[in-house]
Structure formats: C-alpha cells, structure tokens
Symmetry: C2
Subunit: 556 residues, 2 copies
C-alpha cells in the first residue's frame, strides 16, 4: 500500500528535487481557489466542513487523552467553540515513541510516499484548510487559501525534497577493499542505516499555523521521526485537520497512526516549554516570539532546535524611477494581513533631504505622503479592504497599535473598519508614524508586530543602509527592501544584506511583494541573524533530523 503511494507521487518528487537544485519558479499545488482545479463544490464543501466543526469535539483517537481543551476565538467574531483532546504527555509520548519504531525502519521511499500522500490530501482539502486558517488567524480568505493551503503544501514538499535528497546521499551499502601490497586486500562490506532522532515537536504560531509549521512537520516526518504538533492555542483547527489527515494516511499505509499526534491547549497554555524539555523530544521546530524561541534555544539541550522568531524588517528608499508604483507596492505590503507577517516591513528609511525620481526630486514629506496615500487608498473601501487586511489576530496586536500612536508624529492614523460580513470582526487599518533616525532609535529598534509603520528621516542613504544592517544583525530581520536607481547604492545594499544576514529585494513593483516568499526559490529567513536560527529550506534544515548508524563485516 505505502509503496503504492510512492509510485503515484514519484514524478512529483522528481520535479521537486529538480526545483531545489535550480530554485527557479516551480509550484506543485495550484494557488488558484478555482472550482475548475479543486472541484466545483470544493469551496462550499470546505466551508461546510469547517462550520460543521463549530461547537463540537474534534476527536483524534490518540492515546493519553484526559479531557477536552480548546478556546480558539475567531478574529472575525465567529463563535467557534471547538474542543480537542487534552493530552497527558506521560502517556502520549511513550506511545509515540513506540509507534515510531516501525516508521523509523520503513524505507526512505515508503516514508516519502506517505508524506507526499498527506500533502496531496491536504491539497485536495485546501478550501477546508483555508476556512480553518481564515477563521482562526484572521487572514483574508484569499491569503488563507494560498498561504494556508497550496503555498504551505509547497513548503512542506520542499522540506520533503531536501530531506529525501540528503538521506539518499548516504549510500545504503559500500564495499571497502583496501589494497595490502602483495598480500590479499582487506575487504569489508558496510551497511549504513538512516536512523531517526526521536519525537519532533512542532510548535506553531497563531498567524501562519500551516505555512510555518509544515516544513518542520514534514522534514521530521520523512526522516523517520514521530511528530507531535503543538499548535498555538489561537489556531488549532488547521493543525488538527492536518494531523487527522496524516493519521489517516499512516493507517492506510499500515503504520501506527500515533506517529503523528496533536497537542492542543488553551490560549496561554504552557505545553510548549513542558513538552520541549521531555527526553523523548529530540527535535523542535518553533515559530513565534523572540522570548520563547530564545528560551528553547537555551534550554531544550536534549533537542535540535530550529527557530523562526521575529525581527525588524526595513525598507531603504534612496531613489526611484517611478515612485508612484513603488509607493503602491509598499502600501500593499503594509496592508497585507494588517502587517501581521514576520516578513512585513516596519521601518522605512528616507533621506530627510528627499530622493531623486525621474524628472526631479521628491521631498521626505512627498515620499511619506505617497506611501500613506497608497495605504489610505487601499483601505478606503471596507469591502475591498478586508480582503487584503483580514482581521487582527489578537488583542495584543491592537494594544500595540494604540501604544505606537504615541511614539511620534502620526502621518496616517489607524482606524477600525466595519467588516461587511462579520459585524464583530477586529479590523484595523495601518498606522504610519514619522520618526527621526537619531532621536527615535529606541522606538524603531523594537519590533512592533502588526500594522505599525515608521517612516524615518535619515541624513543619507548611507546612514539608512547602516542602520538597517545594524538592526538586522542586532535585532534580526527576515526581509530587507531597497529602492534605488543607482547601481552603487544597490551594490552597497547587497553588502548590507550580506552583513545583516537578511534577504534583499530590490526595486519591487507590480505583483511581487517583499513579504512574499516563494517555496522552491526564496529562502525564508537565513539563520544568520537573530530573527531565526534556521532557514526554510536548506540542507541544514534537514540534515540533523536523522543519523547514520553503520555496520561492517569482512566480505564473504
């Protein structure tokens, strides 16, 4: 059965393996939420499936269940009322270890087949996942579909491909024949076993439960580890659906479904640090705050820890041919999911003397106004705005915006919007504040996760680049964007990006946005600054999830 899965997905895997070598454009799963691709009733079916979960218990037949837990609150005000198994780690983890024995011994191809079948089923249920992501995270629906569905699946497949390639690089056997001059050679036969580490714990965030979770989930799974998914208390449903699908596939392939389990908890629960120190847990993938990520890095010594934390992303504006288009592009990046992305720019550095544009100059205020106007236009019609903004995931974000209003001159105030469909939704527009590079450093050096943008006056582009590099190195950054028509400035920006260990986007216009990161092509985070200790996906993200145990004997 499970070798059947491999055969049916082999061609896809081969394409993925080629894609990670070339890192050009490739995507396995269609990002179009279209009935032609996903089935004419897929949208309605997905919506109905999620709604049918409301006010019910999401049963997962895993051992060690000691009650019900769950308190997700939709940012749109939808009453969810879903509960999930409450776990007893003392029962669940040993059961997972036991379940993973056969899984760890399965062939690489068998495990690849199972992983790819899980991804394929997740893809077929993209609408259901999308509604689950939409309702729990507050993402606008289109984004919930794309980032929560096919793009997350692509990232999962990317991790599968990297891990598959690394495991396959270890030969299964070798013949070692060492010449001994005139004597017969020494001749040994060697066998190399790929051995998993233990249980992989995947600690999710409340904004991108699948996109940020799938790489670690699939990287640990394909390398033979059991996987315990610990979603954020605010976004359990997309992860629970993923776990349920994975368990179905495992069962069908003849494996113990407890290879994949769910660790649900209420918002504010302490399961993450508790599970992270368990001896069974050998791998941890974490997405979340700096404080929690750093705690894991410095305390979970028994595990290999991969973190994606937070940072302070910057845009440096030096000059532009067509600043109108640039401002539009930037405005969209600020509005998208109301700035609740680890890739959203926060600090926009502009020389206080203004910038050169085609046919003249723009003052600092002109530049700031163009960006603010872009944002204002984008959110002017609530019905269209909510399809970009989505909703504010939690009250903490809203409180941060309130505090940010006091940091400087407000260029564009944040306001509440009424959601046409969801009267109780927590919808806000971005706040834009003017700051000074020298006087206000303490303000803009902090991360203000959410719809808070600072437009910061600097003495020069050189100063802008210097501050941006320093921020990336000291506070971390996942994205860095520069606008310039000057090749020297672009070269200096490239140097700054290398020094700050942050991915650079130059002169983005049109349909490519700095906060978007394409699987199979864009490396997401670098591991080279404090925003993350790893990268989605590279060899380092997968190579430590398995070990090689060899045996040798004299050749017959």
């Amino acid at each position: 059965m499970s070798s059947g899965f491999f055969a049916s997905h082999r061609e896809t895997l081969e394409k993925a393996l080629r894609a990670i070598e070339e890192r050009g454009y490739w995507s396995c799963y269609s990002e179009m939420p279209s009935g032609k691709i996903y089935g004419e009733t897929a949208n309605d079916d997905g919506k109905a499936a999620v709604e049918a979960r409301y006010n019910t218990y999401f049963d997962i037949d895993q051992p060690g269940t000691v009650g019900k837990v769950g308190s997700e609150a939709s940012p749109f005000g939808t009453k969810l009322g879903i509960t999930y198994p409450k776990i007893d780690p003392n029962v669940l983890l040993p059961a997972m270890v036991k379940a993973s024995e056969a899984w760890g011994r399965a062939s690489i191809d068998e495990r690849a087949g199972v992983c790819m079948e899980i991804l394929s089923r997740l893809n077929k249920r993209s609408f259901e996942i999308a509604y689950a992501v939409h309702q729990t995270t507050g993402q606008p629906f289109m984004m919930a579909f794309q980032a929560g569905g096919p793009h997350a699946q692509d990232r999962g497949l990317e991790a599968v491909a990297y891990a598959y390639a690394e495991m396959k690089r270890v030969p299964a056997t070798a013949s070692w024949v060492k010449p001994q001059g005139k004597n017969p050679p020494l001749s040994m036969v060697k066998t190399y076993h790929i051995v998993p580490r233990g249980v992989g714990l995947v600690i999710g965030c409340c904004t991108f439960p699948t996109w940020n979770g799938y790489p670690g989930f699939f990287a640990s799974l394909i390398t033979g580890n059991a996987v315990l998914s610990k979603p954020h208390g605010g976004a359990i449903l997309p992860v629970a659906l993923t776990v349920a699908i994975a368990r179905d596939v495992l069962r069908e392939a003849g494996f113990d479904p407890n290879v994949v389990c769910l660790a649900a908890e209420d918002v504010g629960g302490t399961l993450a640090p508790e599970l992270a120190l368990r001896p069974e847990v050998a791998i941890i993938d974490f997405t979340g705050s700096n404080a929690n990520g750093t705690w894991l890095e410095t305390h979970a010594h028994q595990a290999r820890v991969y973190t994606e934390k937070a940072g302070v992303n910057c845009i440096v504006i030096d000059s532009a041919q067509d600043f109108k288009s640039a401002a539009r592009n930037i405005a969209f990046s600020l509005c998208l999911y109301t700035g609740q992305m680890c890739t959203t720019p926060q600090n926009i550095f502009v020389p206080r003397d203004g910038i050169n544009v085609e046919g003249g100059k723009l003052s600092f205020d002109d530049v700031a106004k163009a960006i603010c106007d872009g944002v204002a236009k984008m959110v002017s019609d609530p019905a269209r705005a909510v399809e970009v903004l989505g909703a504010i995931q939690n009250e903490g974000v809203a409180e941060r915006v309130a505090r940010a209003r006091g940091t400087g001159e407000i260029l564009l105030d944040s306001k509440k919007l009424e959601h046409p469909q969801y009267p109780g939704a927590r919808v806000m527009t971005p706040l834009v504040v003017k700051l000074d590079a020298k006087k206000d450093a303490e303000t803009y050096k902090q991360e203000w996760f959410g719809p808070v943008t600072f437009i910061i006056a600097t003495d020069s582009t050189a100063e802008s680049l210097k501050i941006a590099t320093g921020l990336a190195s000291e506070r971390g950054a996942i994205t860095f964007s520069v606008y310039s028509t000057d090749d020297k400035v672009l070269a200096a920006a490239e140097e700054a990006a290398i020094a700050g260990g942050v991915a650079l986007s130059c002169n983005l216009l049109g349909g490519v946005f700095v906060n978007q990161s394409a699987a199979f092509s864009d490396y997401h985070a670098t591991g080279a600054n404090p925003a993350a200790n790893s990268c989605l996906c590279d060899s380092d993200f997968v190579a430590g999830r398995f070990r090689v145990v060899q045996s040798r004997k004299h050749a017959a």
Copy 2:
C-alpha cells in the same frame, strides 16, 4: 595564485567528491612512512625539524600576542620546552573577524584551493607532524605518522569535500518566471550568496590533536569562516605546525593570514570556556571529556557546537569459528596506544556459561584467558610492545589504572615497561579485570579512559546485547563489536547498534580493528548517543557552517 591552487587540486577534489558518495575504500594520502613516497630524507628532516623546536619559541606573527606560553611534557620524557604566543582574545578575535571578510567573499573554488593546498603541504610534512604528534601525545611512531598525518589529512579532505558539495548545491543565481495567465509573467532574477558564520573555534584533545581537529578546522575554513585552533595544553606542537602552514598558504593566496590563528595555553588553562562564549565565535568543534563537551553544548548558545566526547565501548562475544584469531584481534585493539582512543573497547561481555566455537565450547575463563594471553604476548617484548602501546599521555590515565585495579578480580595486571629508547617514558601494559554484569554495573558503566578492560560475565548473549545497547544510549559509545557465528545474533546486534546509535563491527579478524575508522568510508561517531552530537563526516557536520543570503530583483 589562489585559483592556481584550485586548478592543481581539482582532480583530487573530484575524487574525494566521488568517494563521499560511494564511501568505499579511498585514501588521498599514503599511509606508508616510506622514503619512496615522502622523500628519502623526509624522516630525518621531519625529526630534525621537530627537535629544532625544542626549547625555542614557536613564533606565529598573529596580532594580540602578549607573551609566551606552553608547558607540553612528552610522555616519553623528552624535554620539549617549546613556547608559543600567548593571546589576548580582545585583540586577536577582532583581527580575525576583519581578516575573514575577504576570505568569506572569496569564491568557493578559491577557498577549496587554499584548503587543499594546506592539506597537500601538511601531507608533505607528514614526518614532521608525526614526530610532533608522537612526542606530545605518546602515540607509537607508526600510529603518530598514520593517524596524525595521512589519516588526519584524509579526514580533513573528507570535510572539505562534504562542505564543498553542500555549498555547490546552492545555485549561484536563479531565474524565477511565474506565469500570470494571459498577463505577462512575473520575472525575477535571484542571487544566492554563501555567507560564513564568524569565527570557528577548534578545541583539540591531547591524544589526537590532528585527526580529531582537522575535520572541524577544514569544514569551518572552506565555508568561509576564520578558524582559531585551541589545542590541548599537552599537544600544541602538531596544531601550531598546522596553523603555521595554513597561514603560509593563505598569505601566498593573497589573503590575510589571520584567517587562521593559534590559541595556545598551558595544561589546565581556561581558554576554552573563555573563548567559547565570545560573540565572535559562531562555530565550535570540540573533542574531549563529557563534562567539557556538555558544558559547551549547554552554554555556548551563540555558536553551533559540534562535540565528540567520550563513551563506553563494548564488545559482545557470543560465539566464534576461530576464537584464537578473534582474541588476537581484540588484544591488539586493547593494546593499541594503550587504550587511549575514544574507540577502544572497555567492556567485553561474555556469557558465564561460555561460548560455542568450532568443534566445541570455550568456558568464560577460557575466553578471558585467550584475550589476556593475546595481550600478554603482544606486550612481552618491550621493544616491540612500545611500538604498539606508545606511552601514557598523562598521569591521570595512570592514576585511573591504579584505581581500576581495585574493582574486581585482576585477570591480567598492568605493569610498567621500560622504553628501550626513552628511559623516562610512561609506558604501561593493559589491565584486565573480571566483573559480573549484575553486581558490578556501577563500575563498568563508567568510562575508564585508558588501558582498562573489563571482561564481564552475563547470563546470555541477549543480556550482553541489552546491556551494551543501554550503555550506548545512556553513556554514549563510538564503537561496538560483536563476535557471533549465529545470523540471528548478528541481526539482533544490528538492532542493538541502531537502538544505541553506535557503529557496529562484526567478527573482526586480521588487519581490521574496531578502534580504526577509515575516512571516506566509516562514519566516526553518530551524534545519536551521548558520546558525540555529530559525526565525522556527514552533511550535518558541514551544512550549518554557512548561511545563504539571497537578493532578488525584477528581470531587465
């Protein structure tokens, strides 16, 4: 100049790249200490070069030198009296960071060329390195030559090959063209930079300063990092020679030689923990005790830490066709460098009812006697014995042997031998003690690094395997050896090895010994038990030593 280095070593690199794919027999550097290979005067020249260092200052023109340091004491009683630069880390480390800028920007091929030229020069000076290893570690000369010279160089080249392959897997550029239905595609050009992490600190041990040090040294170096070698205070000279050669090559290739520096100290110094927490240090390679290795793993949070610590290696004897040969093989493993290898077996488990051999049975005592006789024979002639035993590296080992004499019934006592060449040499023969699996667990569960062997009576081979697996999992192990004529037992041993995360050798006879690990074929340590958190060499050993920073812009 530096591209010339690459061209002249390209073919060798290609062979090494093939070797790590196949992991059959391959060696780049000849292990024969022969004048035909290394030059007719190489032996004398090497000896003279080392002797010329005695009672002199080993000058390295690195910045931040604040005096002289060094108190190596030869286990053979030779008066060394060599001093080395004493470092001020506050001056040296910033200079290394500065030096590494151009190094980090050099092409992968340029860096590969420099690394391979260093290896090639180390090879040419194998006799000199051998005498340095011999006099500081106490290794017998043949071993000092092979393990300290060509075998260490092979391990260094293996690391170069793994890192080279991983870096080359990242494409330098990509063209990302995403279709947009009827609209023109989105078209981006992407550049991927390989970026080093910082300074790689290599903390060496006093028994294998080059063999254990070169993999981390070269893995960090080729990935663009600066390398600070911190040898054990007892074995500085081989590392100082290595550093000096590396600096010569760097200089010739047009790089700042401070990319590679030496951090020498007296025996018992505290440079290792001091340097390990420096912010400049981003990578640490460590070989040494469990206590120090675990301290690094749990404290040096700013660095990626690779450790090879210690463990309790076991032999399980179940049955044998020709136990005489087996006993001879085991005896050699116990005698080699007087058991001062991280791969030396300590615990030999034998069923108390004896074992089956061709044509009959051997009692427990017969088995123990055969091993003891093998050892006794091997050390009976002091002149030949010292060429296998070498000398005891430090007094701590000798004290441990004294303590071990009180742990049980002595089957073969350790005795002092007079070295024919070096009257003051610290030469001892192995101690063999009989223990009981149940009663004496607390004794044999400890690591007794040095010439201490326990032959332990168990109820059955099943019990032997169970104890050995448990020991590997709990205390760590690097080698595991089994003798059996029963395929079921061998299969069970393979399972035990996988469970314990330890490399298995089956029925070793003749010229292959459990404590020997061949570069390009045998993975040394696994990272899957407490003896080490990494492996020489696999992808995981190299993939985290560099990062990828990308930039993207619209295609023209």
